[in-house]
Every structure is written in C-alpha cells, then in structure tokens.
C-alpha cells in the first residue's frame, strides 16, 4: 500500500499572545509544531505500514523552515518527505493552497491520502475536502477510526454530533483525521539520529503543473479585508466578598436579569 500524509507546520497557538498596545500577534518565541490532527494522521499511516506493509510519504507546503516537521516525520517512521515551497505559493487562501497541494499530489501514487481535520492556526478544515474535490477522490472527514481489508477497501468511522457514521470507501480515497483518532508515537531515537542524513525533496512551481492563476494570492478567491485584535468588552463589577455576601450578590443580580 502507498500512503501519503499531508502535514503542516503551525505556531503553537496556545502560546500566542497579543500585544495589547498594537493589537498584533506576538509570534516571537512561539514554538512551531506539527499540527496535532496531522500528527495523528501520520501515526495512523505508520500503524497501517506496520500492520499491512506500506510506504509512507509526507508532504508539506510551507516556507523552507517547515523542513523541521518533515525530519520529525522521518523520526516517526515516514519513508519519504517532500517540501513544497515556492514564492509563488505565498499568500494563498485554502483553495489556492489546495490547488498547489493537489498539483503535487497528482504526481504521486497512493491508495490512501491522509490530512488532518484542521490546522490549529486557521481552524478552517477546508484543505482536505478541497484536495479531494480537485483530485476527484472520495472523502471521509472527521475520521476517528479506520481499518483496511488488506485488498482495496477501507472501513471508516466518521464522528458526528450525535455519534458516528460507518462508511466504506475503496482506494484511492482521502480521509481527514481527528487528533483524538490516534495517540502519536514519540519520535524514535534511531530515527532522530538518521533524520538529518536523509533527503527531503524540494518541489516548487516547476514540479506541479498548475496554472499560476490558481496559486498564491492571485489564485485566492478570499482576501483578508482586515485583521484586528478582538475588542474586549467593558468589564463589569467585581466584588471581593465573603461567601455569604457573595451568594447574596449573585442572587440579586440574577433576579435583576429575570433569570430566577
């Protein structure tokens, strides 16, 4: 089996803070990590490799420093890594990103294409289904479990608000994986030792045969009109009171608001 996993390097958003004076993000010192949903997807791929035999290729689109997560993927068990990077991809929204990735993925053979459900810096959950559409693949999103019959059919569990759906799909297909689907393994020390001795393939515009009009800022139907720090609401009254008094205050306020 051939598996390709799309991964993304993201800032650890739990570590991001806003500069209250300028309303801009303070990104200095914020660690870059492999997106958690993608990491669970990679774990799923490596488990399938161990169980059924497979080659696992990881691909990321991003700036040159995204190389770091490909090394991490090697140390987790990936066999091949591709860094898709080109100035012409910059400024892409999800659709333009999907065009570039789909262009690259179109050059690869696979039975299963895995992406994370969504990335923690954007939380859009769009790139997976958009790639599936551009490559005319069946998609199963919100994947929480998957099994393979060893021949060509995957049985998939897709999480919903009420429970889950069980679906079947034949290879090749695309799944978007929840971070809770698998607990990613730790990088292997041996894999770490070898990670920087292995080759990361650099692909750019020339390799993917996608019209420039579909790429980057130019190929993005959506544009950022403005970005701003969330306006904080005026704080209300804060009381320092002993528990008896506090209860009195809460009850009178709830009565005022007709809640009780």
């Amino acid at each position: 089996m051939k598996i390709v996993v799309c991964i993304k390097q993201v800032p650890d958003t739990t570590e991001i803070k806003i500069n209250p004076a300028t309303g801009t993000l303070i990104r200095d010192g914020v660690p870059s990590i492999m997106n958690p949903d993608d990491k669970a997807g990679l774990e799923l791929a490596v488990e399938l490799k161990e169980k059924h035999g497979a080659t696992v290729t990881v691909i990321t689109m991003g700036p040159p420093q995204a190389d770091a997560i490909l090394r991490e993927a090697f140390a987790m068990g990936a066999d091949r890594a591709i860094l898709l990077t080109d100035k012409r991809f910059a400024g892409a929204d999800t659709l333009a990103t999907s065009h570039a990735l789909a262009g690259a993925l179109g050059k690869l053979e696979f039975d299963l294409l895995i992406t994370g459900r969504q990335a923690i810096d954007g939380d859009t959950a769009q790139v997976g289904p958009q790639i599936a559409e551009l490559l005319a693949l069946p998609q199963v999103t919100y994947l929480r479990n998957l099994s393979f019959d060893g021949k060509k059919t995957f049985t998939l569990e897709r999480e919903t608000e009420e429970g889950y759906q069980v679906l079947e799909a034949d290879a090749p297909c695309l799944v978007t994986v929840l971070s809770t689907a698998r607990k990613p393994r730790y990088m292997r020390v041996k894999g770490i030792v070898e990670a920087y001795q292995r080759e990361v393939e650099l692909w750019g515009f020339e390799q993917i045969e996608v019209a420039e009009e579909h790429l980057g800022l130019k190929g993005s139907p959506t544009k950022v009109f403005k970005a701003f720090a969330k306006a904080s609401k005026a704080p209300g009254e804060v009381y320092e009171a002993d528990p008896e008094e506090a209860v009195g205050i809460v009850i009178s306020k709830l009565k005022e608001k007709f809640i009780i």
């Binding site: 770091a68 140390a75 730790y186 292997r188 770490i192 030792v193």
Partner: protein
Amino acid sequence: MDFNLSKTQILFRQMIQEFALKEVKPLAAEIDEMERFPKETVEKMGPIGLMGIPIPMKYGGSGADTLLYAMAVEELSRVCATTGVIVSAHTSLCAVPILEYGSEEQKMKYLPKLASGEWLGAFGLTEPNAGTDASAQQTTAVPDGDDFIINGSKIFITNAEYAHVYVVMAMTDKSKGTKGITAFIVEKGTPGFSIGKKEKKMGIRGSATCELIFENCRVPRANQLGKTGEGFGLAMKTLDGGRIGIAAQALGIAQGALSETVKYVKERKQFGKPLSAFQNTQFQLADMETRIQAARWLVYRAAMLKDQKVNYSSEAAMAKLFAAEVAMEVTTRAVQCHGGYGYTREYPVERMMRDAKITEIYEGTSEVQRMVIAAKLLK
C-alpha cells in the same frame, strides 16, 4: 569550537522533553512517596530507543552518541531523578561495558535485549567493606571446569530487583590485589544468585537499590567480561563513563528545581507583589542559572570527549563534582525560595533536594572526584 546544539540534538531534545513532561513527570511524586519502581516507564522507553541510546544500531541500539545520551538523562532527571538513574545505571554501567569489553558473542547475546529495554541492566562493584576503596573486593570467583563459582555480596545496587543482566566484579586472584579482579556477566535466575534486602533511601526512592547475594553461584566461563585480572580497570573506566550519566542527572535535577522556582516566584505574592519582583529573588535565580549553565557545558564537554575516544577521566570527574554540588546548592536555594511550601510535598523541590544529595555520593563521592582530578594534575 561550537557551543550550539546541532539540528539533530534540537530534534532529540524536543522529543525527550515531551516524553519527560507527559510520561515521566506525572509519576514522579507517586513513585517517590511509594518507593515504587516505575516499570511502566521503562516499558515505554524501550520502543523509543531510550534504553540503548549510545549502542550501535547493529546491536539493536539507537546509534547515537554520548552527548545525546547525557541530554536524555538530564531531561528525564529534570522531572524525575529516579527515572534518570534507572537509564544511567542501565546504560553506562551495564550496556556500555559489554559493548566496550564484550566478545562478539556476548554483544550479540546481550546488547539487543538491553538496548530494546526488554532486559534491564545493573552493575555490581560496591561491597560492605569496599566502597570508596573499591580495590578491597571480598567477593571471589573460583574457576571450576567450564564455570566460575562466585561467593560474596554486593550492596547499594541500582536496578537490582528488576534487572536481568548484571556486570559483577569478583576477585579471581587475591594475591594480585587490584590486578586480581575480573568482571563477569551474571544473569538473573542463575542458581546461587539472589537479591537481598532493599534499601530505604533519602532520595531517588523509586529506584530499586538492593543487595546482590552470591552463594556458590555458578557462572559459565563464557560470561567472563574482558580479560582475567583486568576487572578493576574495566570498572574504573566504566565509572568514568557513568559519571557523565550522573553528572547529567545532577544537572537535570538542578534545572528542574530552577524551572519550578521560576514558576513559583511569579505566582506567589507576598507584601502585595509577586516574589519575582523582589531583588533578592532575582539574584537567587541569576546565581542558580549561572551555575547550571556552567555545569551544563562541563557535562556536555565530558560527553563529547568520550565520543572522541580521548582520555576524559578528569573531565568526567569535574563534570560530576561540579554538577552534583550545583544540584545540591540549587535545590537548597529552590526550597528556600518556596519558603514553608518548599519544605512540604505540595511542591516538587522538596523531593529534588533529597534526590540531589545522592549525586554527591554515588559512582564516586565528590571526594573521589577531587582525587581523580588532582591525580591528573600532579602526575
């Protein structure tokens, strides 16, 4: 000269820090309190390759260098010194001497299982009457046909209760003094070999420190490690390497105590402001950080020298001497910065201070390290 970590080292540190934080730290207080050996942690470390870091890949190891190994012990000890010493004793004192002195058969037999963590390793040198004066060995090994018969006992043996493989020193020729000592590989379950009483310790309480008892214990000649009469040299060289592990453990303990203190002084308020706003606190932190950084470079340098296959005895001794004293000083100051809470088990610095003390004692006391360092100067 390059004082920067390589990309490989940065990637490794990312992994080991995450592992320590998520898998090791949550158990640290409990295994200390209960004096419980963290078997589950050893089982998790095996598949990752943490039980065979400096063992070559052809023997099932991770094929990394001593510096990566020292960083592992440092980061594990930062959250749990018990886990640090389990890895250090297993690797430095059992797997590495088999790698460096074993025959090809011995390496093929023992290293893959040690490196995978399936088997745990231990080392037996210290005896009731042979501590710092390790040459006063009373355990004997007498040849008998294809075997040696070992009699005697060893004390304070780290990992003893859970190990499968022991590197043990015994007198094969009393008349020759230190030149009459030979090393053996003893397996768990060998008839005549048993585990004695478990020590109740001040710190590193999760590590199983026990007595080894040999009563007419029959060990095949094939298990002799290195040449006859060269066991004392083997033990001393092994301890040189072990000191890097213990120095890394001390460094980790100190770093852990400092990290906890930085967190605490930002949260804790007295006189209407956080402790971190007081200059005394700031100066304490600055002193701790400076000493830790100095210790770190001594430890890393000793590790690098070992990999360069040059004599590093003195550097390993300096690293251990200094890092152990830094650990003791930093943890003591950390407890002081925590005030009354620091003296309770609410906060980990209490445990860290108890754990730090052993690093000044085992694998050569600080006094022994000074002897090693001075001996080289006066040669």
